[in-house]
Symmetry: C3
Subunit: 389 residues, 3 copies
C-alpha cells in the first residue's frame, strides 16, 4: 500500500490471501489521454477544474494537486520527487510527450480501466483511441457510455425522441458498455423530481429542444427521461449507472450537485435493482456515504477527490469510510487528458489508504487482516463484483 | 478515558476533583434492547441504519461500525479483540442471548440512561421493559417520551385534536418524563415554518388526517403543533426537548435533516426558555455546534455518530468540539436493540474523547486539568445539569 | 511558523528567500479594539458569536476559542500559558485595559491591518480610532468600507437612491479604501438572483424602505443593487470586494450563508474582473475553496475560523487548503473589540499552519521549500498582491 508498485499486482486475489505486494487496482472511472506536446499553460490548465486562465500571480500547479503531481511524477521521468514545476515541465518536453505518457501510464500500475468515452478531446486536441490507451496502460480497458453525449448525437422528430433514445441506450448496452454514466449534475443539478416523466412530457420537451436548435442537452425532463431509459436498459443486466456528484468545473453549481438531493430518485429507482454509483461527491462525500449505507443499490467513488486534495488524502478517505460499508467503495483516478492524473490518482490512493489503515491499526481499531482485506475491496474487489469483471 | 472502566464511576464529581479512573457516563439518549436469540442476518441488520437486505457480496458488519463492534465486544464474551465476525456470532449463540446481553450491558458502565420509549420493538421482537433494562445496565433509568408516538395513539375528533394532544403531552410531563423527543426530521424534515400554527389550521389538518384513516403522523401542521404543545408543557419546568437531526434510516431525506434548517424555529422558541437538544447531527454536526454556540437554549449530542464512524471517532468528535461550548455537548450511545451498541457507544466515546484530548494536550493546546474537566462535562456533568438528575 | 515572532517580520520577502524567522503577517480583515475596562461577563461576551447571555452553568470561555485565549494570551500578561480564566481576568484588570491592550496587540506581530470600519462599537463602547489602533499594533493600517453601513447613512428620496448610493460608494473608493465589504449574508442570505436589478426595481424598493422608516438595510433588491454598484466602482481599479460567508452571530441563518449559493452572482460578476474575497466560510469552507479554484476572481479567507476552532486549527486549515490554489488564500484575524482576538488570530494561524505544513513535509507530501513558500503566500504575499499593498 505505498506509491511504489511491484509487478505482481495482476494476481488480483481479493479474498484475503497471503501474498505480499499492493493489491491490483481496478480504475472504475477514467478517461483517455493526450500524447501531443502541450505548452506549459495548456498542461497546467489540465491540473484544475477551472477552464479559465489563472488569476494574476497564481498557478494551478501551486495547489494540493500540484504538490501531488510533483511528488509522484518527477521520479518516473528521472527527476527527484518535488522537483520544481519548471524543471518537471522542461524534462517532460525533453523526453517528448509520447515517451512521458508511456512512462507515466505504465507507472500507474492499473490492472483494469473503465473509460468514460463521453469526452473525446482535451485542450482542444483529440484523446488517444481506446486501443492505444490500453496498450500504454497495460490494462484491460472497458467502455462506459455517457448518456448525454449519446442523446445529443440523435436528431429525431419530437415524437420519435423516446424511441430514439431507447434504441441508442439499448445499442450502447448491447455493444459491450460496462456501465452508463450521467452528468445530470452539470446539466441541471441533482434536484430533480423522483418519478419517471410521461411520454407526453418528453415529446413536448423534445419539441421545444428542436425549436431551440438542439445542442447541449439541459432540459430537466429530457435528462430525467434519459436516466429512466438507462434504468430500463440496465435492469436485469446488472449494469450500473454512474452519476457525477460533487465538485467539478465552473459549469456546475456546487450545492445542486450534492448527492443527498438524489434521495427521491434513489428510492424511486430502487425496484429496478440497478446499481447507482455516485462519483466523487466531495465536499458532500459523507452524504454519498450515507446513501451507500442506507440503500443497497448505491455505491460511492473515491476518485478525483483523492488526487485533488493532495497531502490531505488520508484524512479525506477517512471521511468517506465513516458511513459507507467497505463493500460499497470504489477506487478510481478520473484521469483525463494528462497521464500524470492517472499516475497521481493511483499513487495517491495507494499512499493515502495505506496511511489511513496503518493509523487505524496503530490505534487498535482493526487487525492486520482487516487492513489487507479493506485495501483489496476498495482497490479492486468491489469493482470486480459490481461491474462483473 | 479508555475503553476499560473501573467500578467507582458513580462518584460523579464533575467539578474537576482529583480521583482517578474514567468519569461516570450519563447516556442521555438510548433505547432498550432485545435479549432474544437472533440469527446472524437479524443481528447484522441492527448494525446499519438501512432496513433493507445488504447488497450482494456486502455485509453491514464490514464497516466502520462493524470494526468498532469487533474491537470492543469480543473481549467481553471471552474472545480476543478483532475476532472475526463469524467467531463472534458463534460465541454469542453459545453463551445465549440473555447472558451475552447481561455481559455487554454491564461492561458499558453506564451510570444513568435516559431511554426513548417511542420504539417498542426491534427486528420484529419486543424490547425489554425498562425495569429489566435497568437491572441489566445497573444504571438509573429515566424515560424520554416520543411526541409522535404519543399523538399517534390518540383518536379524537378533529376539533378535539389540540386539547387531546395537550392533555397527552401534559400527562407525559406529569408522569415523570425527563424529556420529550421529536422525530420531525423523519416525518417531514426540519424545514418548517417557524411560527406556531393556529388552532384553525390544526383542526383542519386533524380533519384531513382523520379522513385519510390516521396512521403515521406526517402532516407538517400537526407535527409543528405537537412541537409547540411540547414547548408549552416544558416551559417553566426546565424539561428539554430532544430533536432527531442528521443521518438515520432510509426513511429520512438527509439534507432535510440538517439542523441549520431549525434556525427559525429556534429563534421563535427562544422566549420559552425550553432547552432544545439536537441529537446526532452528522454530517451536519458542525451546523449543530454553531447553533449551540449562538443560542443559549440549544445543546448538541455526540452519540450514534461516535459509534458509526468507528476508527474515525476522535476526528469526528474533534469537529463537534470546534464551535460548541464545552458546556453544551452531551454523551449518548443511542444504543437500540443490540446491547453491543450500548457497549460500543460507551467505549467509542471514552476512547475517542480520550485520544482527542490527549492529542490537544500533546500539542500544547490545553492543560491536564482542562482534559479532566472537559471529559467530565461531556461524560455526565452537562447531562446532570440539563436534565436536573 | 510558531506562535513566537521575531522582530524582523517586516522584511516581507514572499519570493522564497532564505532569511530565518516567521513570515510577516498581513491581516486582511479585522476590526479595531476597545481599551476600556470591561467586566468579566462583557469580556466573555466578546469571545462568542452569540449576543445572548450564556446558558446557566456554561461560559463562552469554556470552548475551543477559550482554550486558545488561555494558551496564547496569559504569557503576554506575565502568567503561564493555560492559566485559569479567573486568574487571567484578574491579571488583566490589575494591569489595566490600556496596558493589556498594548501588550496583546504588540504581541500579535501584525505587519499590515485592513480594518473593516463598519462596526464602530463593541459591548456598547466605542472602538479605538484607526490612528490609535495603528499605533498600538505597530502595523500599517488601511480601511475597508462596509457597504451596508454606507448605504444606511444615506437619506435620499427614492428616485435619488441609485445616484446617492453610486456617489457614496464612489467616494469611499476615491477616499482610499483598500476594499469594500458586504454583509449580505447577514442581511438577507447569499441566495440572491444573479443579475443586476433594474433602476425601476431599485427605486421601488427604496420607496418601500422610506415608507417603512428606513433603518437596517435588509431589502434584497437594495442589497443586490449595492453589490452591483460596488462592482462598478471597483472595476478597473483592482479593488476587491469582501463578502461575509459562513458562521457568525445569531442574526445569521447559517445555511443561507453557504458561499456555494453565490455561484450565479460570481458568474454574472466575472466580466467585471473585480476580485471577490469570501470571508470565513466555515462550515462551508470547502465550498469556498472550490469557488476559489473554479473562478479566477474568487479568493478565500482563513480567519475567524482559525481562532474559533482552537485546538483543531491545523485540521481545519487543512480542509481549506484541499481545493483552493495556494495563491488564493488569505490570513486574517477578524479580531474585534478584544485585543486578545488579534493575538489569538495571529498565533493560531502561525501555529496551525506550521503544524499542518510540518505534517505534510513529514509525510513526504512536499519539500522544505514548499513549506516556506506556502507559508509566505498565505501570511502576506497573496494579500500584498491582491490588495496592491
Amino acid at each position: 500500500m505505498d506509491g511504489a508498485r511491484t509487478g505482481d499486482a495482476k494476481t488480483g486475489d481479493d479474498g484475503g490471501g497471503a501474498e505480499a505486494g499492493p493489491p491490483a487496482l481496478v480504475d472504475h472511472h477514467c478517461h483517455s489521454v493526450l500524447d501531443a506536446e502541450l505548452d506549459d499553460d495548456e498542461l497546467a490548465g489540465l491540473l484544475t477544474e477551472s477552464d479559465r486562465p489563472p488569476a494574476p500571480g497564481t498557478s494551478p500547479l501551486d495547489s494540493a494537486l500540484g504538490l501531488a503531481v510533483r511528488r509522484w511524477c518527477p521520479p518516473v521521468l528521472g527527476l527527484p520527487a518535488h522537483a520544481p514545476a519548471t524543471d518537471y515541465l522542461a524534462r517532460r518536453r525533453e523526453l517528448g510527450a509520447p515517451e512521458a505518457t508511456r512512462r507515466l501510464l505504465a507507472a500507474a500500475g492499473l490492472d483494469t480501466c473503465l473509460v468514460d468515452t463521453g469526452l473525446l478531446a482535451a485542450a482542444g486536441r483529440p484523446l488517444l483511441p481506446l486501443p492505444e490507451f490500453a496498450a500504454l496502460t497495460g490494462a484491460d480497458v472497458r467502455e462506459v457510455v455517457r448518456l448525454e453525449a449519446l442523446a445529443e448525437a440523435l436528431d429525431p422528430a419530437a415524437a420519435a425522441w423516446p424511441g430514439a433514445v431507447r434504441a441508442a441506450v439499448g445499442a450502447a448496452v448491447e455493444g459491450g458498455a460496462v456501465a452508463l454514466k450521467s452528468v445530470l449534475a452539470y446539466r441541471h443539478g441533482l434536484d430533480i423530481p423522483a418519478e419517471r416523466p410521461t411520454d407526453r412530457e418528453v415529446v413536448a420537451a423534445a419539441g421545444a429542444r428542436l425549436r431551440a436548435g438542439g445542442g447541449r442537452l439541459t432540459d430537466q425532463v429530457l435528462l430525467r427521461h434519459l436516466l429512466w431509459t438507462a434504468l430500463d436498459a440496465c435492469a436485469g443486466r446488472g449494469l450500473p449507472i454512474q452519476l457525477h456528484t460533487g465538485f467539478g468545473d465552473p459549469d456546475l453549481t456546487l450545492h445542486r450537485a450534492d448527492p443527498a438531493l438524489l434521495a427521491g430518485f434513489v428510492r424511486a429507482a430502487e425496484p429496478t435493482g440497478v446499481p447507482l454509483v455516485l462519483l466523487h461527491g466531495y465536499p458532500y462525500h459523507r452524504q454519498a456515504a450515507w446513501l451507500a449505507q442506507a440503500f443497497p443499490q448505491v455505491y460511492a467513488d473515491l476518485g478525483l477527490t483523492a488526487s485533488y486534495v493532495g497531502p490531505r488524502v488520508a484524512a479525506v478517505l477517512g471521511e468517506m469510510l465513516e458511513l459507507a460499508p467497505f463493500g460499497k467503495l470504489l477506487f478510481s483516478t478520473d484521469g483525463y487528458g494528462l497521464p500524470e492524473l492517472h499516475l497521481v490518482g493511483a499513487a495517491q490512493f495507494r499512499h493515502g489508504l495505506g496511511a489511513l489503515l496503518a493509523s487505524w491499526r496503530a490505534d487498535g481499531a482493526c487487525s492486520a487482516g482487516d487492513v489487507t482485506r479493506i485495501a483489496r475491496l476498495l482497490s479492486a474487489g468491489n469493482a470486480r463484483r459490481l461491474y462483473r469483471l
